[in-house]
């Protein structure tokens, strides 16, 4: 077993070891830590100082972790030398130990600017648990505390001290706070906020001397001014710890230089974290540690391959209630970089995005960081933002699920179908190491119901798993890993006329419940009757033309065009219900009647006795056309919505669509039949009809978009038919019209339907007419089932007593 020595027991080193353990148990590992604490979360020191956490709360790996992973831990030992030839390290306890591989994760040291008196009592850094403990002992109401340094760390120290009651002044050398993360305006906004909260800020002040007789009493600046102070915190930056690297003759610039595999110039020595310089950059934030650690772990365990490409510097923090976020390259004075800005000084909100080549290059947010996830994602993905150029800072209208996942409490239910809370999902992600939506679905069942929480789940993944990436290419499913667009193309050009053929040629040969119905629709749609129908590729509803219920029985919804029925129909429904002991008769929200709890074997007889066509309530196809009573009865009606609705239903019924298609026709803008939340709607007006598409009122709520306004009913019906056929041909399977029109954009939809050249429109209508001519009422199958056992339960040829 090879011997791995790790210098540094901080976040970087230990996180890297965790990754190494995942790869293989081939190393005998010893970790040296200069501090006497087990590995803790350094970025939470500010929370400890602010009294939000106890010291014990921030431990990451307790002693038991080291033990159970057979890691020797040497705390309180400082490594003083490396002999790369003998392959040994020497500690300040005099021990010399051999290594096969050496990992330097030595971190960084606070930078002490040149000034007099930094060794006086009452002068501290803010870097480790001991510093924090000392500050906690001394910070109290009445104490005048000065923080030298207005960067991230300095401000966090200032916050903690203020919470402890101290009277805090931040002294900063630069012309703005957090100059590494913020531009001038951003710094200004932050300063204002912080001052409002009671912390004094002095900019462009260089401290020349810390005054006091033994104990600190004040500060003198280079301009000669002085300031009183009973406590001084120096947080002026950090310096990578590179001495050991130098001693080992490694290449060292500002940090120990590593390549894309996290290798130093010595093949057996690796380095990670704040002591490292990669591609001329030294990182001081936490995210890069993990990214580097993963790569290093692969390299060191002999799985050299993954490369580290550098990290996007992103910092998100709350300084005294002020949210600040900064990521990427925020300098817009460089050629080719454009900026979009929003400022509201009195609200304290400042936003700046920098763009390069149409992609996001950097972000600064002060006072409102709700969108930081969105921006981080854009930064990582290099999303082309040209299409949403006008909505970068303010999305057109927030989608339902667009809320910042961070703002959701852990106890809140994310997936209502399955009753899964945010906490459940987060735990599962952590505990089971989930990285993809599919894994979250499988492990927690979240998002496996209606899917309305899919975006939220993705949001959680993005927030928790740094390496989460959305599938770029939305393939149909693992069985046939192509996009639906590709598949439609293949079906057409390769003349594939059955689902099984597609699966055999392009897929895994057997398919599943996801791809089979989708392929079935594609084949039907493309070949329109000129092909083999394969019932086995269809969901049970489409085999028996009824909707399977919770207990395995079925529901029967006959078609009632436009919702209009008659005493005779009502009586037949009543008779059938009683004859077949239908447990419940209910009016549906689609203006029809539903017979619930029907046995499969009774279906054909019930259909026959009802004498009504199938309402297709069980399938991805034309559901109903809801109507209001329009000019036939209503005193407000301006159009004959009943006749128009019945005609629309007649023209489209019995056809299949990528997802269910609901329609509505109303006689006036009062919209009583809610046509504007249907897939296709017609809204009557005095003298004209508005044809609208893409409405929804189910798991989404969406007002339909106007397709066109026309004068005659015939024109309106034609417009609806054009859109209907276009949707049939171009939408992905299981894509509702409201997603379809959003994906394509209404401009395109209009251009390719109602505003298309006459020949294109005619072709759409011709194809629709052909499909319509071939379609028939599914319930007529009662007379000649495709398969003799379609509806009956098989009776065994011999009986047996069991």
């Amino acid at each position: 077993m090879e011997k791995l020595i790790v210098i540094g027991n901080g976040m970087a080193g230990v996180a890297c070891v965790e990754q190494i353990l995942k790869h293989s148990p081939r190393f005998d590992i010893t970790i040296f830590g200069e501090e006497t604490h087990v590995n803790y979360n350094r970025i939470l020191l500010s929370s400890v100082l602010a009294g939000e956490k106890e010291m014990d709360d921030i431990t990451i790996n307790g002693l038991d972790w080291y033990q159970s992973n057979n890691i020797s831990l040497r705390l309180g030992v400082r490594i003083t030398g490396i002999d790369p030839v003998a392959k040994t390290v020497t500690g300040d306890d005099g021990s010399t130990i051999h290594y096969d591989k050496l990992l330097i994760a030595a971190g960084s040291t606070p930078l002490i600017p040149p000034m007099e008196g930094t060794t006086k009592q009452g002068v501290y850094c803010f870097r480790n648990l001991d510093d924090t403990r000392a500050l906690l002992e001394r910070a109290r109401p009445g104490v005048k505390a000065v923080v030298i340094g207005g960067g991230l760390l300095g401000l966090e120290a200032a916050r903690g001290l203020q919470v402890q009651g101290a009277d805090v002044t931040v002294v900063h050398l630069m012309d703005r706070l957090m100059e590494r993360q913020l531009d001038y305006t951003g710094g200004l906004f932050l300063k204002r906020k912080i001052e409002e909260l009671g912390v004094k800020v002095l900019l462009e002040k260089s401290t020349s001397e810390i005054l006091g007789n033994g104990h600190v009493e004040g500060l003198r600046f280079e301009d000669g001014e002085t300031i009183e102070a009973g406590l001084v915190v120096i947080a002026a930056g950090i310096r990578p710890n590179v001495e050991l690297g130098r001693k080992a003759s490694l290449t060292v610039n500002r940090g120990i230089v590593v390549n894309n595999y996290m290798e130093t110039s010595d093949p057996d020595i690796f380095a990670v974290g704040e002591c490292v310089e990669h591609n001329c950059v030294c990182y001081g934030l936490v995210a890069p540690l993990y990214e580097q650690g993963k790569v290093l772990a692969a390299t060191i365990t002999g799985n050299r391959g993954p490369v580290y490409k550098g990290s996007i510097s992103a910092a998100k923090l709350k300084i005294m209630g002020v949210d600040v976020f900064s990521a990427g390259f925020t300098d817009d004075t460089v050629a080719g970089v454009e900026a979009v800005r929003y400022e509201d000084p009195s609200l304290g909100v400042y936003k700046k995005l920098t763009l390069k080549d149409g992609c996001l290059a950097g972000v600064i947010l002060v006072g409102d960081v709700a969108d930081s996830h969105r921006y981080t994602e854009w930064l990582k993905d290099g999303t082309d933002l040209s299409a949403q150029r006008r909505n970068l800072l303010f999305p057109g209208s927030a989608p339902d699920t667009g809320c910042d996942v961070a703002s959701i409490p852990d106890s809140e239910t994310v997936c209502g179908c399955m009753g899964v809370t945010k906490g459940d999902i987060i735990s599962a992600i952590h505990e089971k190491g989930l990285q993809t939506l599919a894994q979250v679905k499988e492990a927690t069942r979240a998002s496996s119901g209606c899917g309305s929480c899919t975006e939220l789940c993705k949001g959680l993944l993005k927030a928790v798993v740094p390496e989460f990436e959305e599938d770029q290419k939305k393939v149909l499913c693992a069985c046939v890993p192509f996009t639906q667009e590709n598949l439609r193309e293949m079906v057409r050009t390769q003349h594939l006329k059955s689902v099984q053929e597609v699966l055999d040629i392009y897929g895994n040969g057997h398919g599943c419940e996801i791809c089979k119905p989708a392929l079935s629709y594609m084949v039907d749609m493309t070949w329109c009757g000129d092909h083999e129908e394969d019932r086995s590729a269809r969901f049970i509803n489409d085999r028996v033309h009824a909707n399977i219920q919770r207990d395995g029985t079925f529901s029967v919804v006959p078609r009632m065009r436009g919702g209009v029925t008659s005493p005779a129909e009502l009586r037949r429904i009543a008779d059938v219900s009683e004859k077949y002991n239908v447990p419940m008769v209910k009016v549906t929200g689609s203006q029809r009647l539903d017979l619930l709890g029907v046995r499969k074997e009774d279906l054909p007889a019930i259909w026959a006795e009802l004498g009504m066509p199938s309402g297709q309530a069980y399938t991805k196809g034309v559901r109903m056309v809801k109507t209001c009573v329009g000019t036939t009865f209503c005193r407000f009606g301006t159009q004959d919505s009943i006749s128009a609705g019945i005609e629309l239903e007649r023209r489209l019924e019995n056809l299949f669509t990528p997802h269910k298609t609901k329609m509505g026709v109303v006689g006036c803008p009062r919209n009583c039949a809610e046509a504007t939340v249907k897939d296709i709607g017609m809204v009557g007006q005095e003298g004209s009809w508005q044809v609208v598409v893409g409405g929804a009122a189910g798991k989404s709520v969406r007002k339909a978009d106007l397709l066109i306004t026309v004068e005659s009913t015939e024109e309106a019906l034609t417009a609806a038919q054009l859109f209907f056929q276009y949707y049939r041909e171009h939408a992905n399977y299981l894509e509702r019209t409201y997603d379809f029109v959003e994906r394509l954009g209404m401009e395109k939809v209009r251009k390719e339907t109602v505003y298309a050249p006459p020949a294109v429109r005619e072709a759409l209508l011709d194809r629709l007419a052909k499909a319509k001519a071939l379609s028939r009422d599914a319930w007529l199958e009662r007379e000649a089932p495709v398969n003799p056992t379609q509806f009956v339960q098989i009776q065994p040829m011999e009986t047996i007593a069991l």
Binding site: E442, A443, R445, S448, C479, N508, G509, H510, G511, C512, E513, K516, P517, D534, R535, S536, A537, R538, F539, I540, R543, I548, R550, D551, G552, N787, P788, T789, Q793, I794, Q795, P796, M797, E798, T799, I800, A801, L802
Partner: protein
Amino acid sequence: MKWIKITETSNIPKREGRSVKVGSHEIAIFNLGDRFLAIQNSCPHGGGPLADGIVSGNSVVCPLHGWKTCLESGEVQRPKDLQSCVRRYPVKVEEGVVLVQIEATAKGRETQERMCTA
């Protein structure tokens, strides 16, 4: 153990299932093209009729909530790690007729337990 004649093979279309009641057993028989397999016609999750499910390779997906069960081992494959399973029934085809074999009811539960831990 006795083999019970169930139905002609043509009554169960390729890649589909059909249910049959034999005594107190409700069995789902599937035609996988090259062979027939049988399991209990009730999903261990919500009792869904597995015979109505979509066949995916040598598994069937319950039409109610998508649990996926292996027709050969009887084990639930989705959700994972459930250690749940359904009862299997031996099947053979003779002279165009599907036959199944049913163990005595008393031993049913035991068998199931054994299969799950196997």
